[in-house]
Symmetry: C2
Subunit: 288 residues, 2 copies
């Protein structure tokens, strides 16, 4: 039997205890989560002491976020992204030993069905943008090559737009593809330099951020997903070190080890050399 | 100039500071609110350490709450109600001296356009339910009558349903009306005994509460709004002391001073005697 909660004296001091007393026993994960959420919400209410009108504004904002959310417009994910929640949760769930490349949230533009391409191929199907060659190696923590590792890449075009955001304007699978690493763990492919972009500013989240003078920018980056038998799958982004918004990523996804140097080669084309370091599955189990 | 926030080492320890550093100066109410919300969300994430799947479930729940929200179905308000937020905010915004009747949240079923009725009239237009007479006085803190005070009443029927929830089944304005207090501050009207009810259990909030074994019950009550020149408008509910769910109000609105005794009179009909005590407008200003 749950204890009967006497709510007749419900107030700021006992609010969380009264509600928690009504929930299932504390060993239930959902009950623990809701108790924690309730405690923090009550603490927030006590700190902020909202007026009735402010409470109505909060409800209206949350309602707007829900109404703006559709299959192709994940406004709630965007809100969690700009609050840093997505990155924090990703970090907690991919604890790795020093030296292993960091994970980032995967983002909404990944496709599992991109084609496998030969070493050195170009993923730019419309040849728009400044040519860029990307090459490097995939190794374990000791620098041993991970031959046969599968490297998937996807990126926005020079305007900062992914092909599945504008299916009528870009060829299907533009700027995405899969490559199998060679015996030395090496990979090389050709593409164009990605552009940075802004997160959507026409929804409730974007409008809130603008009122707060909060950056809407995402620095230019390429997305990678690298998988190899026995290793933790690496889902990450490599960012352009020269992008002026490098430290102002709206979704807080940049990590120091994920900053890449885009250099002009002798032929005047861009080149990015970046090597990925994978941790074994076992390491994950020990760390978590 | 805002300081440039370096997010390259964004982590659990600095997360809130990094995001707060990006917001407008702290004297802006919106910035303070968002900073506080961000700090508590980050603390929650650190405490609960959700898996990626759990984060997706949270996003799905919040999205569902938004999608369930329509003009006639305020699912977000319901969530804030069952978390005690509505009652806490109402309490904070109606601080009163000892002896004055407490406010409660107004709820969604109030109508300002109900008819003014003569002393002693019945508000039951369909004569369904057990007859009840309600009478009492409206006074100031010293017991002086507030002649001419306007008392508005609205209540659910014996099945726990308000007329504007079922416009096709109940006459318009059934179980609601306005009364002007007499020279002694007195009022009397006839009605039927209200029934308790459950909050909606077919939406995401109700389904969550059921998983948590959280009560969905609202004890039987009548709503009142009492206004008088120079006094704080009183918006409250009087609850049936004998309702078995009195201490299990889903929205935590019951206050000890708002519990009324429904008694059987000699004629076998129900009677509720309850007097309201109003605080002056000035008291509010001093207290807040």
């Amino acid at each position: 039997m749950r204890p009967v909660s006497d709510n007749l004296d419900f107030n700021e001091r006992n609010a969380s205890a009264v509600i928690s007393g009504r929930l299932r026993p504390e060993n239930d994960r959902l009950g623990v989560a809701v108790s924690g959420i309730v405690s923090h919400i009550h603490a927030l209410v006590s700190e902020l002491r909202p007026s009735r009108e402010e409470l109505r504004e909060i409800v209206a904002f949350l309602t707007d976020v829900g109404h703006a959310t559709e299959d192709h417009r994940q406004e709630w994910v965007l809100l969690f992204d700009v609050l840093g929640v997505s990155t924090l949760v990703e970090t907690m769930n991919s604890v790795r030993p020093a030296g292993a490349t960091s994970n980032t949230p995967r983002g909404p533009f990944y496709r599992a069905d991109a084609p496998i391409l030969p070493r050195g191929a170009s993923i730019s199907l419309d040849a728009r943008g400044e040519p860029l060659t990307v090459h490097g190696r995939v190794t374990d923590l000791d620098g041993n090559p991970l031959a046969g590792a599968l490297l998937e890449v996807w990126q926005p075009n020079a305007d900062g737009i992914f092909e599945n955001q504008q299916p009528d304007l870009q060829p299907e699978f533009n700027l995405r593809g899969k490559f199998v690493c060679d015996d030395d763990g090496g990979f090389i492919f050709r593409t164009v330099k990605p552009g940075g972009y802004n997160i959507p500013c026409d929804g409730p989240v974007g409008r809130l951020l603008q009122r707060l003078d909060y950056p809407l920018t995402r620095p230019a980056h390429l997305h990678f997903r690298i998988s190899a038998q026995g290793y933790q799958t690496l889902v990450t982004q490599i960012f352009d070190a020269d992008d002026p918004s490098l430290t102002q990523d709206a979704i807080l996804g940049v990590r120091r080890d994920l900053v890449g140097e885009f250099r002009k080669s002798g032929a005047g084309e861009w080149e990015l050399a970046y090597s990925f370091v994978m941790a074994t599955d076992k390491t994950q189990e020990q760390a978590s």
